[in-house]
């Protein structure tokens, strides 16, 4: 633990004990939500396609008068990104508070 070489090590996949461990966990959770909702949905859309141009069950359903897939990609995903950012900030704020030596928010 006192090895100076190791004390200088920073690696996302081997976070240092303490603040960075929790920070990386929050980041990983947000990134999973970011990737699955976006790229995962496009994959599902391709899997369910019944014609070369991608028509399928998700394009026939409607929501708020939009073809469902169009609503999801064009309207929900930007909203989802905002939600992810809000959740990230809430959890990081909380995490920072917990690790702050001082509780007067002067840490950052």
């Amino acid at each position: 633990m006192n090895d100076p070489q190791k004390l200088c090590d920073v690696n996302f996949f081997r976070p240092r004990k303490g603040y960075m461990t929790g920070e990386v966990a929050i980041i990983a959770a947000v990134l999973v939500g970011w990737a699955v909702a976006n790229f995962g949905f496009q994959g599902v859309l391709a899997l369910l396609a019944q014609s070369p141009d991608g028509e399928g069950i998700l394009t026939r359903l409607t929501f708020l008068s939009f073809p469902w897939h169009f609503w999801f990609t064009g309207q929900f995903l930007p909203l989802w990104f905002i939600i992810l950012c809000v959740l990230f900030n809430i959890y990081i704020d909380r995490h920072t508070e917990q690790h702050s030596r001082r509780r007067d928010r002067s840490h950052d």
């Binding site: 200088c8 240092r16 980041i27 496009q42 939009f66 897939h69 909203l79 992810l84 950012c85 990230f88």
Partner: protein, 507 residues
């Protein structure tokens, strides 16, 4: 010029003059209060500044144009340019701020302790500015061509002259940018005509960005135009590749990264970004509506243009839609003023950043460290004109649509700056050899299609010019890791700073 365009021209002129006058008044009132980019105006104000800094001709004109041409495929731009902010927030915002370097070359130069890496990243930043600016010049050229009823070439020469004159005049007068005012103009000028169009066409107009679903269905039912077909224009790989490229490009664009220093603390910087993303989304939710209404108006009038003609006017389709919809000329003028402001302010930001990089990162840091402030400033002023001339030369024969040209800048940022920042922040073993090899690989990958695509067709499929970072960015990261591991680690002082100041600040 026609009478119909006189009112829009007057409104555009008045809007730009207003920004100069308010900027001068703000400077007189608040001289001395300015930090990096203006006084602190809270999280919401910071968000408006982020959104205003982001909005360009690509957002205002280009996105609508591509949606008009390619339907669902172009939603990759909407998603790429919003989803990239998630990457930026969670992976970089706090850390680069704690690192404390304002520009991409400064960060790369200091983190990797390498003048060579600084030089390469400065050259890349300048190239990004030039490409990005080319797209803005195309938008400005088309707007001027429309306002003065001239051809594109005359429009772009005239427009570029006025834009560069505006940048120089603003600089000479010391005009302060009021980004909240800019964002207000942008959002009002984009949404108000859309509300009017939705109202005229008989759709839900109160929130037009959420009420155009029926129009998509009408297009399909009445005219057989399937605007929403997911893979009609391109397949899954192309969609994902484009979207991913725009996302990592957003998180690697130099002028976006430097925004985090405007706000006094990290917590406010993070929350400002969320507001910024919301303000950006307000416009991005709306852009597809313009494209759908354009298709509908054309179909109803029975004058849908052939593909080549549609491609030529796509970049100004947002304005044409307002004209086709019969909106009053003052409202079209407001829309044009918003588009012109977005392009002008982006040009100003990019030219000044590019020139500063040339003067500071290359001339002062590498060529003549004893240069006086005066000679640095003179060089920067000259560089603005030279960069603008280069951009104009390219923009005279634009290589693509506005959003496509912009996407190449994103691909370059995503293949070079993004990996350099990502590993620079999250892996202390990354060293100068790794980053230099990685950035050079990234440059090669970005331009591999025009360079080798003719000889090896597979290259164009794997690394499409606008979408090369899906395979490119992971490849560059791989190169950086391998080369770093094969060469000595970076100096201990850098690694200690990273461990203690950037990541260990709470321990």
């Amino acid at each position: 010029m026609t009478d119909a365009n006189l009112v829009p021209l007057l409104i555009v002129t008045a809007a730009l003059a207003t920004f100069i006058i308010t900027g001068l008044r703000a400077r007189a009132r608040e001289a001395g209060d300015y930090g990096f980019g203006g006084r602190y105006i809270g999280r919401i104000g910071g968000g408006a500044a982020i959104a205003s800094n982001w909005m360009s001709a690509a957002s205002f004109l280009g996105m609508g144009g591509l949606l008009y041409l390619q339907g669902y495929y172009a939603l990759a731009y909407v998603i790429g340019w919003t989803g990239g902010y998630v990457l930026l927030l969670v992976l970089m915002a706090g850390q680069i701020r704690r690192f404390g370097k304002y520009t991409a070359p400064d960060f790369v130069g200091d983190r990797y302790a390498s003048p060579g890496a600084r030089l390469i990243s400065a050259a890349i930043s300048i190239t990004i500015s030039v490409i990005y600016c080319t797209a803005q010049f195309k938008g400005i050229g088309m707007l001027f061509g429309w306002l003065f009823a001239t051809d594109y070439r005359t429009g772009v020469i005239l427009g570029a002259t006025v834009a560069v004159g505006y940048v120089i005049l603003s600089g000479m007068l010391g005009v302060a940018r009021n980004q909240q005012l800019q964002y207000t103009l942008l959002i009002v000028s984009f949404i108000l005509p859309l509300m009017a169009l939705a109202h005229k066409l008989g759709y839900f107009w109160v929130l037009p960005q959420f009420g155009y679903g029926v129009a998509i269905q009408d297009l399909k039912r009445e005219f057989g135009i399937n605007f929403a077909a997911p893979f009609a224009s391109a397949g899954l790989f192309q969609w994902v590749a484009l979207c991913f490229t725009l996302m990592v490009g957003t998180a690697g664009l130099p002028h976006v990264l430097s925004r985090f220093y405007v706000v006094p603390n990290i917590r406010d910087a993070r929350w400002s970004l969320v507001w910024g993303l919301f303000f950006i989304a307000l416009i991005y939710w709306s852009a597809p509506a313009y494209a759908v209404f354009a298709r509908l108006l054309e179909a109803r009038s029975g004058m849908a243009p052939p593909p080549v003609a549609a491609g030529k006017m796509a970049d100004i389709i947002v304005i044409k839609t307002a004209v086709m919809g019969g909106l009053p000329s003052w409202m079209i003028g407001i829309l044009a003023a918003g588009a012109m402001s977005a392009a002008f302010f982006t040009v100003a930001g990019l030219l000044i950043t590019g020139a500063a990089s040339l003067s500071h990162d290359i001339y002062y840091r590498l060529i003549n460290p004893r240069a006086s402030e005066g000679s640095k400033m003179a060089l920067a002023k000259g560089a603005v004109v030279v960069l603008a001339a280069i951009v104009l030369a390219i923009a005279l024969n634009p290589p693509g649509l506005i959003a496509e040209i912009t996407a190449v800048a994103f691909a370059l940022a995503g293949n070079t700056i993004f990996p350099a920042f990502l590993l620079g922040i999250w892996w202390s073993r990354a060293n100068r050899h790794g980053v230099i090899a990685g950035m050079l690989t990234g440059v090669l990958i970005t331009f591999s299609t025009p360079l080798f695509g003719g000889l090896v067709p597979a290259v164009a499929k794997v690394f499409p010019l606008t979408s090369s970072a899906l395979i490119g960015a992971p490849l560059v990261i791989g190169v950086m890791i391998v080369v770093s591991l094969l060469t000595p680690p970076p100096p201990e002082a850098v690694r200690r700073f990273l461990a203690e100041q950037v990541h260990g600040h709470m321990d």
